[in-house]
Structures are given as structure tokens and as C-alpha cells.
Symmetry: C2
Subunit: 410 residues, 2 copies
């Protein structure tokens, strides 16, 4: 059997535990952008004393972002900076006051650079909080030169560039080691969400980032508003009862390898904007009130006309462009439902059945990032596929290697 | 083996297809609120000619909602009304103009009752559109008496009450047949999302529901604004490039049966506000840039102190209160990580290990909806558990029946 490309993918957690579940279901499948080494200690995010201690600890590391692009040491390494570097932009302690005080004294006219607390790297000693919580603290900071921090942020950007560092250009999901990619994904997803949601969707007023970037709240008062109404805002539904409005958004998305009824062919589709000969698995957003299996069947029928019977979930992949949870599945067509029909939805330029041999060969020689060249053995006109860092590739590999049937195809 | 309670749960799709995937993975697991019989034909939602034809067809059915509560014929049956019933509230044709015209002539001062196109019931003949798309159209309409429709909506509410119908009080997830529950879930999720999101989170201006309730758009002009700026609004990020801001939100949530390292015990937790003796599986929101397995391990550790090794996805359940996709999993503790510690997060009042025998007995005699009484065989002081319509119950049943190990517990 030919060798499939082997990128650095995350190690599944506890791979050495010979558990009941491992024996029955095999090794856990981990995809790129998962596998973060950080403990998020999410319950400590509202604790300003914790955040202050973490911010100022000498071991603490900071990732810098400029317009959502991370600062890099090289294409395969994130740059890590210190508190003294970011202090001119974020000030000495944005976590100085308890959160309730910050909310009570909210002033919408002040620009506050976004800071995200990413978690503790428990492999690194030094920082300890309340005995239980140990490890190197990681933060992400938005240093985009804008508003009141324009001048200081520009200085910082110049300084890091003079050190030979630079902010990335475009997506970087092919070059970072797995664990760094997972940390980057967490930071990127949260910075993007905060940047896209400065206003309350329930009342239209400005919101304030709290919980170190993991929540936005709609304060009841705003010092910047006219004194006529003493800064009071109108009532907002997010301030009473349970609401998800001000929590980060993650969109469940289904992506699926579609196998023919006889198990010998796989359906792939292509979008018009893709390079020639490039195909991938079908995908789409899960809709309200659908199970994963239902979303898979609906999307496949809408995009290709194929009717699926059984659908099985394979693995999941966080995808921070901007906010997806990719839920990977394998679906099998029913015998009378294999005719491709592209007329329902206009999303795909083409969808067709490929033999396992074509896909296996393309996985060997024809994979790359979009816009990059294929490997040296690729012959012009052959099938092109996404790289191993994409769950689409992992789903196709799983099928040709026998995930669906128990025996490899062909 | 004692009989577990058997509520009406959805039938998995194509249960008779003896496919490769069915043979390998067994029958598909379908949970309550999934299993809708409707074809959503999502690609037809922007087509005003389709929506007009569907709205006016004599076979078309309408679900009515008042403050998110559906109109019922009985506790186990949704009331279905006709176009003539809702016409005084929604007007003769809210889909009269092409969507681009409606957006161009947007007037934020007009109140438009929310209408959702739910899909086509292909089992019922009559309505046909463009040859391919057939079946009884279903709509949901918000008839809450408010704003400019207050008077007409009040009349409608009085009229349906005089017919012996009434709007439900509170959650109804125990009483509807599976397929009606799934249709209700779709309507409820989308009505709630539209109601919670009248403003654009990116710019703070009012948005307009389009695509028959499945999208909200931020129009570039608003007739209701001052003529000084010709109704132009400031630029908004949602109007350029790809953005998910104006799509319905569905929050991926993990819920998990936790099994001890030896496979003989299960961990359950309880919240303070629950009735005495009531326990359930742990659960929590998936965070940005987590795989499902990582979210399960993080939540279990944060809430209970337990360290999990292998995690396996079991099934998913849409949950429209207000917008969740419950992703059900089974996780197994590592041998050195079985000590309960509630001190990290303050969410649970208690978490403890139960034997398979205790859980099996409680599944038999101690299940019910929150606030309802247990069955006749229940003895005071015994373990109480959620009903079979909840995925928590299905996960516990799966474990005691051998999903995780292949052989039933005990």
C-alpha cells in the first residue's frame, strides 16, 4: 500500500491508556487545530486577582495579533513576547478592578485593546495560583494600531519588526506545529468573535469584553452617555435570565465522505473558485433543530442530489475561520439514490463519483493547500485534494483505509 | 433484564437499508427533537415566488406561536391553522416583492410579524413547485399581540381560544409525538433567534429577517432614518465578505456519561436547583477551538475533578432552549483520576459515582421531567433521573446496556 502524506497532527490525549473504550473503538482521532497543551481553567476567568497575577508573572507569554494576523518568528513558529513588550499598549493592569466594578464604571468612549487569557501550560513550572493551578500563563493581545493606542501600537509593531519578527499574511494552517496551531486557533477564534460583535444584538448598544475575552456583557449604565438620563441604558434582555447572546459563537458544520451503496466509490465536489482538478468532500452548516446525521443527509441531497442512508460520525476539527466546529462524518448512498443532480442548490460547480484507486493516488501525490503546488509526482490533469491538516483529507483517508467497511477499499 | 421506559422516539432514517455502515456500526441512534419529516429545501428560501405559492396553497399548514409558546390542540398535538386564519396578522403576502427590493426599501419603523418557512411534508400531495419540489408546505408565524399587529393578533388569539385551542405553558418536550416535536423544535429555535437578535452585533443598527426567517440582514439604507443623510447607514462589516453574524446561531454543547476505569460505575452530578435525589450526566458548552473530545475532558475535570482518557461520541440531539446542539459522548476515567473534587468550578452541588445497578433501577422507576412525579414503583429517597426524551437518559441507558464495553454492565 502506498504511503499517505504524514503531516504533524495532534496526538490524541492519553494514547497510552488501554481503556475499555479504546479497546472497543480504537485510537482516538485527533485533527489539526485540536490538541492544545493548555489547561483553560475557564472558571478562573472572572477572577481579577488570578488574571492580575498571571499577567505579571515573569514566565508568562504573550501572542501578538495585528488585524487577526499573529506575530511569527518563522512560518512554523509563533513569536512569544513578554509583558514589558505589550505594557505600553494594554497599560499596567487592565484586570486591576473586580469585574463588577469595571462593568459599573463602563465608558463606551474608551478603547480597550482586546486581551484573551488562553490557559496554563502545565508542563512549565513557576506560576502557581491557589495551590491547585500551575503552569505558564498564555495570553493573546490585539496590538492593531488604532484608536487611542494607535501611536503606542505602531511603535510596538516597528520594534518587533526590527527584531526580525513579522505578522503572518493570510491563513497559516499548513505550517505551525500541531500544539501551536491549536493555541493559535483558540486566540484567533476569540479575537475575531470579539471584533465582530462590539454591539449587543438584543438592544443595539455597545458591549464590554469580560472574563478575559470569553464573554461580552451589555452594561446597564454608560458613563459616555448624556447626563440627562444619568447614563442609564434601556432594559436589555441579555441582562435577565439565561441567554447565550454574549457568549462566543461556534458554528457546527458538517463535512462528509460520501460512499456509494456498494462501498467502491466516493463522491467529491468542487466549487468554481477552486484551482483546476481540485475536489473535496461536501460540507455545510448544521441548521437549527437538526441532528448531525440529518444535516449530513440534507446537505448532500441539496448539493448533489444523492440520497444517503446510514451516516456515522468520524471525528471533529475546530476551524477558526472564523468560528467553526467541523463535524466529520461518513455517509453511504442508498442504491436507488446515486444519481448526481446539481440543480437544487447552485453551490457546487461539479460533483462526481471517484474510484478508491483515483482517491488513493491523489492522496499520495495530489494534496496541498489551496493555491499551492502539488507534490513532485503529481501529473497535470490528475485529481487534486486538500492537505492532511484538513479533516476532508482525513475522512477520505479513513474511507480508503477501511473505516467504513472494516477492510481497505480495492 | 428489567424493561426501560419506552417513549416515542424518532425513527432513524432509512432503518431498512442494510448498508455497509449499518452492518459495521449498528442502527443509527436518533434522539427526541430530531427526526423531522419535512424537507427544508433551504435553497428555495430566497425565492419569493416559491414562498408566495407555498403561503397561498390550500394544503399549507401554519403553526402559531405567542411569546414562543405554540398553539396546541391537546398536550400531545400541535394545532394546525390555515392562511385565512393568519392573514389579518401577516397581511396578504409578505413575500410579494423580490428580497433585494424588500432590503432596498427597508423601513425600520415598520413591525413585521416573524414568519418561518419550515419545509415541505413530502408525504402529502397537492403542492408542486418547479416539478421537483412537492409536498405540504409548513410555516410558523409569531402572532404575539404587540406593536402594529396588537389588535388583529388579540382577535386571532381570542378566536383560537374560542375554538378550544390554547398556547402551551412552558416546555413541552415530554408530550408531543416525535415528528411534531422535531417540527416544533425547528420553529421554536428560529423564532427565538430572530426575537433575540433584532440589532446587528457588528454596527448596532436594526436588522431585517430575510430567507423566510433563516437569515437576518443589515440593510445599507433605512427609510425611517433622517432625510439629512438620505437614509444611508454607516458601513457594516456584515455587508462585505463572508460573515456568519446574520445566520442563526446553534451552540454545540457536550453531554457525557462518565464511566469509571474498571467500567463498573458511572459518575453523575446534580445542580442545587434540582429536586431532591435528582442527578444527571455532566454537560457544558464546547468552547472555541476545542474538539468534542477535548470539550468533554475539560468540562468533566472542571466540574468534577475527574480525569478522562478515551472519549467516544454516541449521538446528537437538537435542543431548542434556546439554541443547542447536544453532542452526547461516553468518557472513561483514567485509573489515577477518579477522585471527585468540586472545588474548581462552583457549578455542581454534588457529583458522585453510582453503581450500574443503582442507575439501571432508577432508569426503570425514577425517571420523569423536572418537577414531575416519578413512576408508581419509585421509593422515596431513591435516585431520580431525566426522562427518555433527554439524551442524558439515552447515554446512561447505552452504558448500562453495553455501548461502551460491548457487554451490559453487571
Amino acid at each position: 500500500m502506498p504511503q499517505l502524506p504524514q503531516p504533524e497532527l495532534p496526538e490524541p490525549a492519553h494514547p497510552t491508556v488501554d481503556s475499555m473504550l479504546s479497546r472497543k473503538f480504537g485510537k482516538e482521532i485527533a485533527n489539526y487545530f485540536s490538541g492544545s497543551p493548555l489547561n483553560r481553567v475557564s472558571f478562573l476567568r472572572p477572577d481579577h486577582a488570578f488574571l492580575t497575577a498571571a499577567l505579571h508573572h515573569p514566565s508568562t507569554t504573550f501572542l501578538l495579533f495585528n488585524k487577526l494576523e499573529p506575530l511569527l518568528k518563522s512560518p512554523s513558529e509563533l513569536a512569544q513576547k513578554k509583558f514589558e513588550d505589550v505594557k505600553p499598549v494594554i497599560g499596567n493592569n487592565p484586570f486591576e478592578r473586580p469585574e463588577e466594578d469595571t462593568i459599573a464604571q463602563y465608558n463606551s468612549s474608551l478603547y480597550l485593546p482586546q486581551i484573551i487569557f488562553l490557559g496554563l501550560d502545565e508542563r512549565k513550572e513557576g506560576f502557581v495560583y491557589k495551590e491547585h493551578y500551575k503552569g505558564q500563563p498564555w495570553f493573546a493581545v490585539d496590538v492593531t494600531p488604532t484608536e487611542s493606542v494607535k501611536e503606542e501600537a505602531e511603535k510596538l509593531v516597528e520594534k518587533v519588526k526590527s527584531e526580525g519578527l513579522d505578522f503572518s499574511k493570510g491563513r497559516m494552517h499548513l505550517s505551525l506545529p500541531a500544539q501551536e496551531a491549536a493555541i493559535y486557533a483558540e486566540a484567533r477564534h476569540l479575537l475575531d468573535w470579539n471584533a465582530r460583535n462590539p454591539f449587543c444584538a438584543s438592544c443595539g448598544y455597545k458591549t464590554l469584553s469580560v472574563n478575559a475575552g470569553f464573554k461580552r456583557t451589555c452594561p446597564p449604565k454608560d458613563i459616555a452617555q448624556s447626563v440627562a438620563n444619568a447614563g442609564e441604558r434601556p432594559p436589555c434582555a441579555t441582562r435577565t435570565g439565561i441567554s447565550n447572546l454574549c457568549f462566543p459563537r461556534t458554528d457546527p458544520t458538517v463535512i462528509m465522505a460520501v460512499v456509494s451503496a456498494d462501498g467502491k466509490k466516493m463522491l467529491l465536489g468542487r466549487q468554481k473558485r477552486w484551482p483546476p482538478h481540485w475536489y473535496s468532500t461536501l460540507a455545510g452548516f448544521l441548521e437549527p433543530a437538526e441532528s448531525v446525521e440529518e444535516a449530513v443527509r440534507r446537505e448532500v441531497w441539496e448539493e448533489s442530489g444523492i440520497h444517503l442512508g446510514r451516516v456515522v460520525i468520524h471525528s471533529t476539527q475546530p476551524w477558526p475561520y472564523p468560528a467553526n466546529l467541523m463535524i466529520g462524518a461518513i455517509g453511504q448512498a442508498i442504491p436507488e439514490g446515486e444519481t448526481v443532480h446539481l440543480g437544487h442548490d447552485a453551490e457546487l460547480e461539479d460533483a462526481k463519483w471517484f474510484t478508491a484507486e483515483e482517491i488513493r493516488e491523489a492522496l499520495r501525490v495530489g494534496t496541498s493547500g489551496l493555491g499551492e503546488a502539488a507534490g513532485p509526482e503529481y501529473k497535470e490533469g490528475g485529481l487534486r485534494l486538500p492537505p492532511a491538516t484538513a479533516i476532508a483529507n482525513q475522512l477520505m483517508s479513513a474511507v480508503v483505509n477501511g473505516f467504513a467497511s472494516g477492510t481497505p477499499m480495492i
